[in-house]
Amino acid sequence: MTATIESPRSSRTQQHSRFNFEKWGWIYMRASGVVLIVLIFGHLFVNLVAGAGVKAIDFGFVGGKLSQPFWQIWDTLLLWLALIHGANGMRTIVNDYAANPLVRRIFKGALLASALLLILLGTLVIYTFDPCPAGSPAELLPSFCAAK
């Protein structure tokens, strides 16, 4: 005669949907991290090392960069990826250290609001920036403004 042994514990019920925020957050941190290394060091090299180096940075330099689609896309990617990467990192720290549920909500709400605001403002500036504001001295402006 054989005794039948029931399984020790029934499996835990799955109360989550298939989309797992923590998992995708973790994947995002790795993926964006790799891209950010390229974007940040590319940005630093072009601004600080290439050409005349750090002395070249002035309104004209920045205005010139932001009028080229290549740098517009580069800076947009840098802005979005870095801000979401940083905000998500701060979120995990809040999850770790803010034990009070209300404080947690406030911190995370503030994080979300500030990240959204900075992303919106930054994106607005990148695409609506006027490199040749009227009435400015010509020596401060990018070289192509004079041609206008």
Binding site: S11, R12, Q14, H16, F21, E22, K23, I27
Partner: protein
């Protein structure tokens, strides 16, 4: 020939040099004070003595109220994990001579679990998360003799079979210190032991359990657990392998 070995033994045992070690122990008695306090003990010990021997000597000769856990006293049962000089180790595997004896040796209970008395913590939360990963073989079929496994398949999870559940890893984890809901390294190590076992059929269940808000994604790869493990288990690597298994959907 065997007699010759016996005759060569010195008749008087060699004198073992002794030294005085100072232990600074974090005492806590819930019946007396609400705050733990540090207390110093001087003990004369020998070169082969371990921290556990010093604790025994204090308890047996100086202060019988000193409270700590130990069972086998030889690094197998995992009862006497404690924080010695700021690092989680087993008191029975830490030789006094390996520590800096010019300063007091600090001994305190492991962190992150509720302190009960002196060096004893409440291990219930630790074992709750261990139980939650279903650390037992889940198999539907009943083989006639044994479940066959190749040496290669066995080697896949060999490292994580070494766990003795001493909680040194989990109580060294900064995420566990601040968030008691996190499963902790030990539970994930014991899930790893079955997830990568070719005889087991419950891998998907365990991967689903660990693919949770408080599951493997809380791990920050701080490597405290790997450093703390008295069995030398590559804990952080095991957690990373579970993460990879969740991402790929199969062990």
């Amino acid at each position: 020939m065997s007699n010759a070995v016996l005759e060569n033994r010195p008749s008087v045992p060699e004198e073992i040099p002794t030294f005085t070690a100072t232990l600074m122990i974090r005492r806590f008695d819930p019946e007396i004070g609400s705050e733990p306090r540090w207390e110093n003990f001087d003990v004369v010990m020998g070169g082969t003595d371990r921290v556990l021997d010093a604790l025994h000597k204090i308890k047996w000769e100086q202060d019988g109220s000193l409270t700590f856990r130990r069972s086998c006293a030889h690094g197998v049962c995992g009862s006497d994990a404690m924080r010695i000089n700021g690092r989680n180790r087993l008191a029975c595997k830490t030789l006094l001579k390996d520590l800096d004896l010019s300063k007091p040796i600090t001994v305190e209970a492991i962190k992150g679990l509720p302190l009960e008395k002196d060096l004893i913590v409440n291990m219930d939360p630790f074992f709750e998360s261990f139980k939650a990963v279903q650390p037992f073989l889940i198999a539907s079929s009943k083989p006639d003799k044994e479940r066959l496994q190749s040496p290669v398949e066995r080697a896949r999870f060999d490292d994580t079979t070494k766990c003795i559940l001493c909680a040194a890893c989990t109580s060294s984890c900064p995420v566990f210190w601040t968030d008691g809901q996190y499963f902790g390294p030990a539970a994930i190590v014991n899930a790893h032991r079955f997830i990568f076992d070719s005889r087991d059929e419950g891998s998907q269940v365990r991967l689903d359990i660990l693919n949770d808000k408080e599951g493997v994604w809380r791990c920050r790869t701080t490597f405290n657990c790997t450093e703390a493990c008295p069995r030398g288990i590559q804990v952080t690597q095991a957690i990373a392998e579970v993460k990879a298994a969740i991402l790929s959907g199969k062990p």
